[in-house]
Structure formats: structure tokens, C-alpha cells
């Protein structure tokens, strides 16, 4: 019984490695298909928005990027919980592989938000509740990456990072509501992004783009986790055989 558990624990990166390798091109391909379909629908077919003109088309990347930035943080927190509860090695590696992509998504969300805000609100940056929360989310990502990078011992880095993620995930709703509340107190008017009634083509375009971002994130995270695995497991037999072969 004990031996089987051990075997499972030691085998899991070894089995996950080739699996992730085989799936990565597939996820990139699916991401490309979704992306092309989404762009076609969003950029070529969807009609003009009667309030925001053509400028609204930024939504097709702004919203998926924002969704992904939040979703990836949740997934990382989920891996963190698994890692702390069951002491699995894969979970820390997955969280670390996801973090840079999540941070980039948060950055894209801010960047496109600024480019959207300038023509719509007349300013690159407004202290809107969503933009502010997104900025804080970016800080949380950077904090996580800085902490795990600062700890040399991989296992301690995993555990400390996991704890930080859980603390962050508890705090995110509190931060979000406090920012929103603060924002309504100080602004009261003007900035309102309610998207009126959205045409179905727009909605579909957005969903397709969201799927594209999702698949892309999985693909990149798989690529990254494979490198992390090699690095971490370099003294195990499976990595040594792999390296002795023609792994590229």
C-alpha cells in the first residue's frame, strides 16, 4: 500500500511530462482555430456598437484577458490547496508554470483597458473599480513570482507560494468589494461600462476569443511546466534517460 503511494508520487511528473508534451501542439492548434473563428466573427462580421462605434472591438481581447487573469489565479490557488493538503510535487510546478501567463493576462487586461478608456472616457487611466482591482491582481501575481523566485529550496518555495496564493484568494473578494465601494463613493457617476444589449454575434465572438485565450494559456503552461520538471527532477532516473536520449 505504502509502496504504491510512493510509486504514484514519484511517477506522476514522469508520466505527466510526455503527456503534456504530446498535448501542447494540440492546445496551440485548438487555440488558433478558436482565435481565427473569434477574430473573424468579432472583427469582420459583428456590427458597429451604437454607443461606442468601432472602438468597442477591443472587448474581444480585453474581456477574455481579464477573465483569464482571474481564472488562472483561481486555478493556481486550487493547485496550492491540493499541494498543501496532499503534498504532491506536481501542484507547485503547475502553479509556478501558470503564474507568468496569468501576470501577462493581467497586464493585457490593463493595457487594453487603457486603450479602450482613452477614446471612451477621455483618459488612459481612471480609478475605475475593475481596472483598480486588475492592477492589484497584477501586484499579487508579481508578489507570488517574486516570493517563489527568492526561495532557493524548491519545496519550500512551493509551500510558501501556495500559502501566499491561499491568503491572496481569501483576500481578493475583500479587496474587490472594498475597491468597488470606494469607487462608488468617489465617482458616483460617468464611468459605467454596462454593455447595453449585446448583439449575439458580439457575444459569440467574445466567447470564442475567451476559449482561444484559455487554450493558449494551457499550452504555454504545459510548455513551461515541462521545463520546470526537467530542472527539478534532474537527478531522477527518468530525466536522466530522457536527457541521454535526443530530447530537444
Amino acid at each position: 500500500m505504502k509502496d504504491r503511494f510512493n510509486l504514484y508520487r514519484f511517477a506522476s511528473p514522469a508520466t505527466f511530462y510526455p503527456l503534456a508534451g504530446a498535448l501542447t501542439p494540440f492546445f496551440f492548434a485548438v487555440a488558433a482555430v478558436f482565435g481565427l473563428a473569434g477574430l473573424w466573427l468579432g472583427m469582420l462580421v459583428a456590427p458597429t456598437d451604437f454607443q461606442q462605434g468601432e472602438g468597442y472591438r477591443i472587448i474581444f481581447i480585453h474581456v477574455p484577458a481579464s477573465w483569464m487573469s482571474m481564472f488562472i489565479y483561481l486555478i493556481m490557488a486550487g493547485w496550492a490547496a491540493i499541494g498543501l493538503a496532499f503534498n504532491t510535487r506536481l501542484s507547485g510546478m503547475m502553479a509556478q508554470a501558470l503564474a507568468p501567463t496569468g501576470a501577462l493576462m493581467a497586464f493585457l487586461s490593463l493595457w487594453t483597458g487603457a486603450l479602450w478608456g482613452k477614446p471612451m472616457w477621455g483618459a488612459w487611466w481612471v480609478w475605475d473599480a475593475r481596472l483598480t482591482s486588475e492592477l492589484i491582481l497584477l501586484f499579487l501575481y508579481i508578489g507570488y513570482m517574486a516570493l517563489t523566485a527568492a526561495i532557493d529550496d524548491a519545496r519550500r518555495a512551493d509551500k510558501a507560494g501556495a500559502l501566499l496564493l491561499l491568503v491572496g484568494v481569501v483576500n481578493i473578494p475583500i479587496i474587490y468589494f472594498s475597491v468597488q465601494w470606494w469607487n462608488t463613493l468617489h465617482q458616483g457617476s460617468s464611468v459605467n461600462l454596462s454593455k447595453s444589449s449585446m448583439a449575439t454575434t458580439m457575444l459569440w465572438g467574445m466567447l470564442l476569443m475567451a476559449m482561444c485565450f484559455w487554450m493558449y494559456s494551457i499550452a504555454v503552461a504545459f510548455m513551461r511546466v515541462r521545463t520546470i520538471m526537467l530542472e527539478r527532477e534532474r537527478n531522477t532516473e527518468w530525466v536522466k534517460t530522457l536527457l541521454a536520449g535526443d530530447e530537444k
Binding site: G53, E54, G55, I58, I61, T112, P119, T227
Partner: protein, 62 residues
Amino acid sequence: MIHWNSFGEFLAMGGYGFYVWGSFGVTALIMLIEPIAVARNRKTTIARLKRQLRAENRNTAE
């Protein structure tokens, strides 16, 4: 079916061209650079690990 009448109109985005293409351009750039960077990192890591392994094997053989 297609919303635009001409390619120029598509590029102009009803006067929002700079903002729309600025958003899409940077996104495309990031989505291009990130996988390339990850792949390069992977290559250098593998090369380094292979070097280390070879050095180790030499040491044990002696």
C-alpha cells in the same frame, strides 16, 4: 455577411484604429513572444542539464 466595405475602412476602425490595433497588436506580440521565450528557455535548460549529466558521468567513470 462581412461588415466592412473596404480594407481601408477596416484598418480605420471608424476612427478608433490606433486604439483597436494598439490593443490587438500588443496582444498578438505577447502571444507570439511568450511561447518563443518559453521554448528558448527550455532549450537552454536542456542543454545545460545535458552538460551537467555528461560531467557527472565522466566523474563516476573515473
